[in-house]
Each structure stands twice: as C-alpha cells, then as structure tokens.
Subunit: 235 residues, 4 copies
C-alpha cells in the first residue's frame, strides 16, 4: 500500500531543537518508521507546488497522513476540496495531533474541532477497544512522559469508534484515538504528537500508526462520486 | 420557540403551478402550518440582503429550516460559515428534500450527500423508531402518492438515528428521516418535499416537521466556540 | 411522571455507617432528592415480594432506577425478564454505579459489563456533551473527593452518547455517563454512587439524576411487543 | 480461519422439499460454498450432544454461523451462556434469517428482535456501504425472486453499520445486513435465507457470507473476561 505523509514543515525550520528531535522534519521521521515490506511511503509539504498534493499524487495514495499546526490557513481551499474528494472516493486519512484544527479535518467533521490544551503534561493512554485492528499489539495502558494536554469537550462529529482514551496529570481526559467513515474513506485521528515532544519515538505510537495505515487502506479507491437520475428497476 | 424557514424561492417565480401548490412560496406554506401557540415563525429567502440570514436573525432563531434546489451555489460561503457557527453554537437545523445538496448540509456532513433520484414515484414511509419524539403521532406507515424518488446509497455521515425509511415503487429504499448532533446543534434531514408534489400538504409530514422543530430546539444557544489554553486543575 | 427507585438494600442493614450516610437506605435517599412537583417517586427493594417489581408497579412506572451490588444473583430471572419487557415497551431505565453488574444491565447490554475498580479514589467528572438534556445545569467539570474508581476498558455495548467522562487520580479514565435506546426504552448509566461514599449528596449528581429521569421518561409506554405476519400493502 | 456452521436441522427432516433445495441440510450446503483455501468449515446441529457446541469446538472456532427457526427454545440456556462468552472473548458470530429470534441473537442485542414477516415476497437488496469489506464484489443492487419478507420496525440494538437494505414488493423495507461489536466479538446479521427459498444458491449471498466470515474473524480470541481490583498507576 502507498502512504503519503503530509507536513506543513514550518516549526522545523524555525526551531533547531525540533529538527534535533525529528531529523529531516516530522514527515521524514514518520515516513521512516512506517516504511516496511508492504508500506511504501512518500512525503509532501506545504512549500511544494500545490502543497505536494497534486491529482497525480493523491490518485496514487492509499492513505494520507496529516500533520499541521501554525499554517493551517496557508493550505488553499482548492487543495482541501481535492483532498476531501479523494477521501470520499476511498483514500484513507490519518490526522495527527494539532491537525485537529486543520482545514481538512474540520471539513470532514463539520465542527470546530475545538478542545482544551496545555503544554508539558504527562499523559497515560488507555486502550478502550483491545480487539480493534488499530490496537493490535498495544498494551492496555502506556505513558507519554511529556506531551501536550488535549482536553474534553472535543468538538468532533460523534466517532464511530473510540479506540484510545487519554488521561492527563492535570485532571483532564480526552478521546485520543477515534475513527469515522466518510463516503468511501476511513478516517483516524490520533492525539499525541506535539512538535517539541517525542511521541513519535514511542514504540506504541509507531505501532498504532502502522496499524492505522493498514486499517484505513481502502479496498477500492478513486470511486466516482455521482448523483444519477435513475430509471425504475421494478414496475 | 422561534423558527426561521429559509427558501431559495426560485421555482415559485418560474412556474405558476408551483405557486398554486404552495401559495406564497414553499417558505410561507411551511411557516403557515408550523405556526402555533409555542412556535413563532419568520421566513427568509435568497433574494433578501445577506439571504435574510443576518447575525440578528440567526441569534434570534432556535431552529432554522432549509429548502433549496437549483440555486445552492448562489448562497455566499460567508453566509454558510455564519449559519454553521450558529448550528455549532446550539441552533437546530432542519434540512428538507433537495436541500441534501445545499452548501450548509454538505458542510455539516463532510460528504457529497449524493443519492439517486427520479421524478414521479410513489413513496411509502415507514416509522423505524416509533418512540422517537419526531415520530410522535405518526403511524407505522403512510403513503405519498407522488413524490420524487431519492434512493440509496445516500452519501451522508453515519446518522445518530434513522427515524424514517422510504420505500419507492420503482424498487428503491432510502433513509428518509435522519438525525445528527454537531457541536451543540441538533440536525434533522427529511426527504419528502419536491416542489411540484404535495408532500407538505400531508398531515403526517406536517406533524413530523412540527415534532422535529420541538426536538431540535436547543436548551442553550449562542454558546461561545472556544479552544482555550487551560490551567491544570489537579497537581 | 412516576419513578420507582429499586435498591437491593443489603449493605445498609450490614453496616450502620452506610445507613448514616444514606438514612433510610440508598433508595429512600435517592427518592428524597428526586421528589418534586412533576416527579412522583416510590421505592422497591429486594426483600419485597417479587422484589417489589410486580406487573402492577412496572405498568405504572415511567422510569426505573436501579442500585444493586452484592446480591445481583438473588433477583430471579423471571423478574429480570419482566423488567426487560417493560423497558422494551417504553419504560426508562437508569442504572447506578455497581448496578453495572446487575442482571438487568447485562441483559440490556449483551456484554459482561466488566471494568476495573478500586476503593477510595478521587474522581473528576467532565461534561462531554454540554448541550445534552442530561447535562443541563452541570458545570464543565466537578470533583467527587472520594469515590470508587471504575476504569476502562468498560465492556458495554457501544453507547449512543457518552455524556460524561471520569478522570481518577490513580491514572484511570471512564465513560461515566452513557445512554442507549433498547426497543422503545431509554437507558442511562451513571458511574458514581459507591455505598460508603457521598456521591448522592453532591448537588450535580442529584441534578444529573433528575435530568436523566426527565430524559428517560417515555412519550408512550406499555407498547405491545409483537412479531406479526403482515399482509402486503402494495400490489 | 475456522468456521462452525450451526443449524437446528429440523425443517430438513420434516419436509423433503427442503432437503432437495439444500442437500444435506442448510448447514452442509452453507459449509459447502464457504470452504476454500483459507476457510476450514465444520458443522454442528441441535441433535448433537451439547448441540455440538462444546468448549472444545468453540475454543477452536473463529466464526460461528447460526441458522435456527422453530426450535430456538430447545437450545439450553447453558449453551447460550457459553456461546455468548466465546463471542465476548473474540469469536465472530453470523446470524442468519430466522435466527433473528434465536436465544443467542436476542441475548447479544438485549431486545425482542421482532419484525414483520410474510412468505413468498420478491426482494431487492441494496448495498448501502459499497466500500465495506462485507460488500466487496457485491453489486449496487440484486434481486431474490422469492424470499420471506422481513419488515421494519426491526427491534434490534442500534447497529454500528447498516451495510445492506432490503426492498420488498409488498411495500416493506428492512435493514437486511447489519453489524455490531460486543465485547471482543464482531457480529453480522443477514436477513435472506428462508428454508423453502433459494437465497443460499445466490452467488451474491454466498459472497456476502464469505466476506462476512473474513470480516468477523478475530485478531485475538479466547481473551479472558475479567473485572479486576486494580492498583493505582499514578500517585
């Protein structure tokens, strides 16, 4: 299967510490641990022509992963229209952390995707659906020593499934891993992944993302979106 | 409670037969049967300034009803942004028939809202959730002698509840009455209501809409939409 | 509306401290704060004939509230069959705390309703759906200084709505307030309420239960449960 | 993967015409078309010791398929308790046609599973979720020339997904293919399959069942069902 990891790639250029944590940028780091026998990965960033998300790229993508934060507004609406069409036509979409406020996630949800936040929390993640394919190999609970707190209420469309929930030492809770289907496409949101923390180094977070790629990979993609006048089949 | 019935009001001006079926336009006709002791109704149309959907009107609306068909594209995106904000802040939204392709419904769903269609079918509606407040007083099944067929697959976000299902004589089925919650707002979609047919004269369709208004009416509205940095409550 | 509060009423007889916290037993205490102009309350206990849940009582009950813990097995299956029939016919059901393992809750869920538990935790409850009728007047978050920890994974049927989530100081999270519809009946589960703690003295817990009674109260009840051979309506 | 097809196997002995339609009985016929390289199938029937559903058999079953009709009451409750435990521990369950009233399906739903019915209808099935794995290779619509009508309202727990809907020539509609998760187990209900009709000869019905077996096959099974006292992980 073919994965495209999209990253706005801005923090990395502004702050050398982030580049130290995620060499090559978040996109390259994520691509690195996803690559394996059955997963082929390319990356795309905001500064590429058409944000790197041309029709050619998207038509050849099974699952698109999205990381963005401070430049959500710089992605043109036409690109978002296009990505949405590909999701509805079958492409999987995985939205990470601050991508909760990305145009594409808010587009797919129909809501603000607002939440509470605070830097520098301790998070404990719980596996709520232990037999879900995205939870394969994930323990009942594991800790991220330092991660940005995201707290409820999280203004999302009702998830089909809440696979993971997050506990934070400041007293907050969060639906940290959720799934939806929109059109023919599967969507997964995962909360950990603040740019100054090390969530993507965590073996379980890596495993969750690999599982999610396999879960979101479509049986069919590039399915036409039509609204036909339809002749009666029965008399 | 306060209801605003919005109508693009275009068919009515082009075809005198439609004005005969729905004197004053669809909006006035719908407003007419909704008005009662506890429901105050105003109307708004596409040709009014800001489509009749100013901040003043929306802030004073508990439930917005939407009928549109051939001029969906003429509603400016800024108006849709505003209506969406009010829904997320608590205002109820009822979308009728060809409003399935309206910008506001597609915005709230995140999908194409495509379906199959054909004029001049016979429809039989079934009450799937007889104890739902929107089904109060509605029989197990009733017939619309002539109505536009809308057929599955209907490309919507998974409904919270399917209250009514439609059977068509040409062999099609449809989720004809569905509910969702988005943000603080309740949403109901009802399939009958083609402009050249008489669905809104049907006593049960009228009762469904009256029930839906009461169901969608918010406990609280104009709730602020915020994404705060949040101080830890526990140490 | 008419509420019946059922309690196994066993802890209260074994431990005078519990009777001090909840004078008259949990059932009388809960009945006491629910009673008001529009809510008429009676109580029923395990030691009554037919557990106090005769056909006469249930046919005259809009919402049944259930508290049980160490004597779940003493409620005869025939009584559970009967309660289930009334729920499916429209009666509301509110299950409290250790009632998660009651025969009636497991019957309605189809699952084990297992969870993690530990006495003497500090709980912080979060309102996830602020505009849900059960959350009316409930703040975004409130604390129960001492309550039994119930932790995920909670083996329940997928809830229609998760209205409240719980945070515990030992690191656990929980879906503390959930809703379902089964047949014509509405069901609400609320996690707080350990017999040696004071949850039912908390003003917000009291308000949640009052809200839940109004939410679960049926439009229609005693609806016949039938599986008819049905003549064709269309030719 | 390992499938066990369970059949009450009573009609077949009473009516030679049924044995002509389904040689060897419904169980053998279904087993026959399911068997392939990756699907190993055994059968079990009501007249076997422990209904053929011993701990040994169930522990070695990935997906259990259930057909029953006039002898639901003859399956002892202890066997149903056992089957339920295996489902909650991860075993997949596929319930067919008149199995809607089986003890195991009603157990998993918590509802009556009542519906409307009439012999000798014409059914048209619609694929509502074309990209669902159970719908792989299934056309948008196909016809069963003669099948028992099952009509809404169908008193089931809210499905996670409605994959197929049925249209009947007498005017009825039905949620003909639905999924749920209960505990660690996946459940699929499929409406066609009356004993005197030929639904299981239909290539698409066969394909749906094969797809459903693969969908319901667990990642993990025989997962312990526990409710532990749990030590605090955070201080």
């Amino acid at each position: 299967m073919k994965v495209t990891v999209w990253n706005e790639n801005v923090h990395e250029k502004l702050d050398p510490n982030i580049m130290k944590i995620y060499p090559g940028g978040l996109h390259e780091f994520i691509a690195g641990f996803l690559r394996c026998d059955d997963i082929e990965v390319r990356t795309a960033t905001l500064d590429m022509p058409e944000c790197g998300l041309t029709d050619e790229v998207l038509a050849d993508t099974d699952v698109l992963i999205w990381w963005g934060h401070i430049k959500h507004g710089d992605v043109p609406d036409e690109i978002i229209d296009r990505v949405q069409r590909y999701v509805l036509s079958g492409m999987g979409l995985i939205v990470l952390h601050s991508g909760h406020h990305s145009k594409i996630f808010r587009r797919m949800m129909g809501t603000t995707c607002n939440l509470k936040w605070r830097d520098g929390a301790r998070e404990r993640i719980w596996t709520i659906k232990p037999n879900h394919p995205i939870a394969a190999g994930i323990p009942e609970t594991f800790v991220l020593e330092e991660e940005e707190m995201y707290g409820e209420p999280f203004d999302i469309a009702e998830p089909d499934e809440v696979v993971f929930m997050g506990w934070f030492n400041g007293g907050e809770v969060f639906r940290s891993g959720c799934t939806w289907v929109r059109g023919n496409g599967k969507i997964f949101y995962l909360q950990p992944g603040h740019e100054t923390n090390k969530a993507y180094h965590n073996e379980y977070v890596q495993r969750i993302l690999k599982n999610a790629v396999r879960w979101a990979c479509p049986v069919n993609k590039n399915i036409p979106l039509v609204c036909p006048c339809f002749e009666a089949l029965e008399k």
